[in-house]
């Protein structure tokens, strides 16, 4: 078999050799006859006769030598190339349509592949899971679980039967000083189990062991590859050197390899979390935990294992003073294990599949258009095909040839499409929302290439099969003698095109409805009030006051105040304040909040709420109204008064109204926590994004006593919010920077943004989906209209004779127009009807992407139907006008 395949490639040489052999034979025969006394011509004739048909021998020989099917394919390819070159305009139109369609699919598939299909970049990554716990009794209204907790982690690590390792991790930042400029770095905290359970190896040195995360052990740190390159220039002797981070000295013990990624991030530094088991109490959730399942263990078995361990964990540690056993039980802790990949990808999966689906539909519409073009083309070749059929070409052979042609068109489109996809993907990634998971895993790899190849071939066969079914039938041969075009014949042909057009309109309808729903969602989101006002005027910068430069909390606050005053003095600054996290800034500081006046120990357990540590003036700066009561004053801050503000929704939830809440007291879950008086109630904000519910918040002064188990709490890393009409103008930021540096020249300014950026971020996924669907919808609309226009134009051409007769018999222009218009509108109506039905099913999949819009939103469905029908009417009106200009005499003469 292989040698036969090989023979395909050296056909020419083999042919020559055969010639030599055959000639030798013939000449020898001839010579013999001559020797017997034949004349030369007679000898030649006799030799030929004895030898038999030379051509047959050669043909049989060739068939025997190669693989007939493949050779036919080769011939077909050459033949198709020739015939495609004869109609360059059509060929280019088809290839361009396909290239765009396939390219779009490849690009989106690259994203789907990178995020959803590819395994995580760890060995046996399908056994990695997130170990979270649900606690329906105390859960925040807007989070799906309470994560893990130290008391759970220690027991799970020590007593589980289903894990090959379980560890805690956290992400944060740290300031590195010492050599060069102070720099803020991405820091990953891990317990010693985390890196080994991911099965990653260091590039240099070692990773953490049990001794590194024991309390009181030396400071050790592992560097990320990028940071090692950036800060140390890839110094191979870096292991053993020191890093000054957060004003402490750290021993560098290793460097991670270049491809190492922790979930979606590439951390700059990795440091061990050193938890003291003797200090652990039952409570304090929201830690993140991952584990590796033992071989053969299922998620359900692991869940059962954790369910067994939860009561053990509760009994193994002391309760937080003031809380009761019953409260802990009422929290109803239960395991909530998820595959790590699913957890990481989250709700992006839904968006991606919807986008993939719509792009797929665009390709189908493109295929329908191409099929239409090919139908016209094959129609033009009808005479040729008929003659060949009459000469004995089998319809299989003709069909095979037509399919080869369309497969080649598909493949060419696919190859050019790959080029489009490459650039499209780069554009796509550049505009991807920052919170899109696994962006680093998105590449055009073999899977993408195979996908593209398959899609190209599939679409080639899809649009290729239609002309084959119509034209390569055996009955063809019979129609040849009839020659001319009968009216009924063209009717039948029109029907094939009609079906394609209806399908196109239906698919365009589906896409336009999807795009319409996203537009409505976007509108609704834009109408949502985030809770703060004039976001574009608010400049934000994050600053961290290190314990080294201001060891005492009070000193840190004074430094922060000094910076605040300098900024406030800048021209054009209306107000400035700072907070542990700005709204929508992704802040997460939760604690169980006990409201006063509600019985402890029985009744509903206290719920976890978000805390924000703020300076006075934040509400004014943000444009958040104070509904009742007052803002904090600097006296509240410096005297560490036990006061808080709460959001209006929290006030209503706990006490029924803001008036009722004012003057009441709340406290956190730590043992030394004290009761804090509610001095004000503020307007609600959407801290988790515009499409999410309102967040219940408790605002605490930036300096507070006895909270989180520390005597004096200060937020050292804070975000300044600056309201100014000059926000966004050149020079303003420089002035802010100078103001900060006039207080402390060692402070790096991070996360320099405006509040508008935060709002945009929260809408990024919606925007991206909207843009993708809008592009898909526009392409679908355009292709659909081209389809209708083409079909009607074609009908006009085909029915020229008929129209000529009608006009000759006295038909009015308007009647002729109406005839074609009706044809177009009937197809459109059918398409719209079918499309509405499909859309009603399809949009249900995207309901999670919608906000305040029903998947069956009548406005969208209605508007899209009207728009599509109007556009289609126009697309059929234009060619139908041409029909009225038909000259009856010429049209009859034409045939």
């Amino acid at each position: 078999m292989l040698s036969r395949l090989w023979n395909l490639f050296r056909r020419r040489r083999l042919d020559r050799e055969l010639d030599v052999e055959l000639t030798h034979h013939l000449e020898s025969l001839e010579a013999e006859y001559r020797a017997r006394g034949f004349s030369e011509p007679d000898a030649r004739t006799a030799a030929r006769r004895d030898f038999g048909g030379l051509v047959q021998v050669q043909e049989t020989y060739r068939d025997q030598r190669g693989i007939p099917m493949l050779e036919t394919l080769g011939q077909n390819v050459r033949f198709s190339l020739r015939s495609l070159r004869r109609t360059p305009a059509m060929t280019i139109a088809v290839i361009a349509t396909l290239a765009i369609g396939i390219g779009a699919n490849s690009a989106v598939f690259s994203v789907v592949n990178g995020i959803l299909i590819k395994p995580l970049p760890y060995a046996d990554s399908d056994r990695l899971i997130t170990v979270a716990h649900a606690a329906p009794g105390i859960q925040l209204s807007d989070s799906r679980d309470v994560g893990s907790s130290l008391f759970l982690y220690f027991i799970e690590r020590e007593q589980n039967r289903t894990f090959d390792g379980v560890g805690l991790f956290g992400e944060g930042t740290a300031t590195v000083t010492g050599t060069g400029e102070p720099e803020q770095v991405r820091r990953l905290f891990v317990t010693s189990d985390v890196l080994p359970l991911l099965r990653v190896q260091p590039l240099l040195g070692r990773i953490f062991s049990q001794t590194d995360d024991a309390p009181g052990s030396r400071n050790t740190v592992v560097l990320g590859y990028g940071y090692w390159q950036r800060r140390f220039g890839g110094d191979l002797s870096v292991v053993g050197k020191r890093l000054i981070m957060a004003d402490e000295s750290w021993d560098i013990i290793g460097v991670m390899p270049r491809q190492f990624r922790f979930l979606s991030q590439q951390p700059d530094v990795i440091s061990p979390s050193r938890f003291d088991r003797t200090q652990v109490m039952v409570g304090a959730y929201f830690r993140r935990s991952i584990a590796r399942l033992k071989t053969g263990v299922t998620l359900d078995q692991a869940s059962a294992d954790i369910r067994r361990l939860i009561p053990i964990a509760i009994d193994s540690f002391p309760l937080v003073p003031g809380s009761t056993r019953k409260q802990v039980e009422d929290a109803r802790l239960e395991p909530s294990l998820r595959p790590l990949k699913a957890d990481l990808v989250g709700d992006a999966a839904n968006t991606l599949w919807v986008v993939m689906g719509t792009i797929g539909i665009v390709l189908l519409i493109a295929c329908a258009n191409v099929a239409n073009l090919l139908l016209v083309r094959t129609e033009g070749r009808r005479q040729e095909l008929l003659i060949r059929a009459a000469l004995g070409a089998g319809w299989r052979r003709i069909g095979f040839e037509l399919l080869t042609e369309s497969a080649m068109l598909g493949l060419t489109g696919g190859i050019i499409g790959l080029g489009f996809a490459y650039f499209g993907l780069r554009a796509l990634l550049a505009s991807a929302p920052a919170n899109l998971p696994r962006v680093g895993d998105i590449t055009m790899d073999t899977t993408v290439l195979v996908f593209t190849l398959a899609v190209s071939l599939f679409s080639g066969l899809l649009f290729g099969v239609i002309p084959v079914v119509r034209y390569a039938k055996p009955k063809l041969a019979g129609t040849l003698p009839a020659g001319g075009r009968s009216i009924s014949g063209s009717r039948e042909r029109l029907r094939a095109r009609g079906v394609l057009v209806v399908a196109q309109v239906a698919m365009a309808m589906v896409l336009l409805v999807c795009a319409g729903l996203m537009i409505r969602t976007f509108q609704k989101l834009n109408d949502v009030h985030p809770g703060f006002a004039h976001a574009n005027e608010i400049q934000t910068v994050q600053l961290t006051i290190s314990p080294a430069s201001a060891p005492e909390p009070e000193q840190a606050v004074r430094r922060q105040y000094e910076i605040l005053s300098r900024i406030a003095a800048l021209p054009g600054v209306r107000s400035v304040a700072y907070t542990s996290a700005v709204p929508m800034g992704g802040g997460f500081n939760a604690d169980l909040i006990f409201p006063e006046g509600k019985p402890l120990g029985d009744g509903s357990p206290p719920k976890a709420r978000q805390l924000r540590f703020i300076s006075p003036g934040l509400f004014e700066t943000m444009g958040i109204p104070i509904v009742m009561g007052r803002d904090f004053s600097w006296t509240d801050v410096y005297e560490k008064r036990a006061v808080v503000l709460i959001t209006e929704n929290l006030a209503r939830l706990e006490w029924g109204s803001p008036q009722q809440a004012l003057g009441k007291r709340v406290r956190g879950s730590s043992p030394q926590d004290e009761w804090r008086e509610i001095v004000g109630v503020t307007g609600d904000i959407r801290d988790w994004g515009l499409s999410r519910p309102l967040t219940e918040l408790v605002y605490v002064p930036i300096l507070a006593e006895r909270i989180y188990n520390v005597p004096v709490w200060v937020s050292r890393s804070v975000t300044y919010a600056i309201r100014s009409s000059r926000t966004g103008t050149p020079g303003f930021l420089d002035e802010v920077r100078q103001a900060v540096w006039s207080v402390d020249s060692n402070l790096p300014l991070v996360n320099v943004r405006t509040m508008t950026d935060f709002v945009d971020d929260s809408m990024a996924r919606t925007s991206l989906t909207l843009v993708m669907l809008a592009i898909a919808g526009a392409m679908a609309l355009l292709l659909g209209l081209i389809g209708i226009y083409g079909a009607i134009s074609y009908a006009v051409t085909q029915r020229t004779k008929e129209v000529g007769i009608r006009i000759a018999l006295g038909a009015q222009n308007s009647e002729v127009r109406r005839m074609f218009l009706r044809h177009g509108l009937v197809m459109t109506a059918l398409g719209v009807g079918i499309g509405l039905g499909i859309a009603a099913v399809f949009t249900r999949w995207m309901s999670t992407l919608l906000f305040a819009v029903s998947p069956l939103d009548p406005v969208t469905f209605g508007a899209v139907s009207v728009v599509l029908t109007t556009a289609a009417a126009l697309a059929s009106y234009l060619p139908s006008r041409r029909a009225t200009r038909i000259d009856p005499i010429e049209s009859l003469r034409a045939e």
Partner: protein, 113 residues
């Protein structure tokens, strides 16, 4: 005269001819086969070439370029050891077939009284 030759018989004739005569070119083979068949076989000599290719593909014979008696370039075919084994197998099955057919053909037709 048996114009139709059973499928496969040409292959065996070629193999057997090569066995008795040693390496031969196509013309020599054709001549010899026709000689041996003494006019019973009416062979289009061209048919030999696809057959030779087939035998070569099955590795029963091997072709080599050489020089003929008339000092011309020609392709000489030679039996391989596989080819030799093939002849043995074919010979057995032919003999079996022939003796079988003979029994049927020689059995006298009972007279109808």
């Amino acid at each position: 005269m048996a114009k139709e030759v059973l499928q496969g018989t040409l292959d065996l004739m070629v193999l057997r001819t090569l066995e008795t005569m040693g390496p031969q070119h196509g013309f020599g083979l054709a001549k010899r086969i026709l000689q041996v068949s003494e006019g019973i076989l009416d062979l289009n000599q061209g048919t030999l070439y696809p057959a030779l290719l087939r035998l070569e593909q099955r590795k029963w014979i091997k072709g080599k370029w050489g020089v003929s008696d008339a000092n011309r370039r020609a392709r000489f075919y030679e039996l391989t050891s596989r080819g030799r084994r093939q002849i043995e197998q074919e010979r057995e099955s032919w003999e079996l077939n022939v003796s079988l057919m003979e029994r049927f053909l020689r059995t006298p037709v009972p007279k109808e009284d």
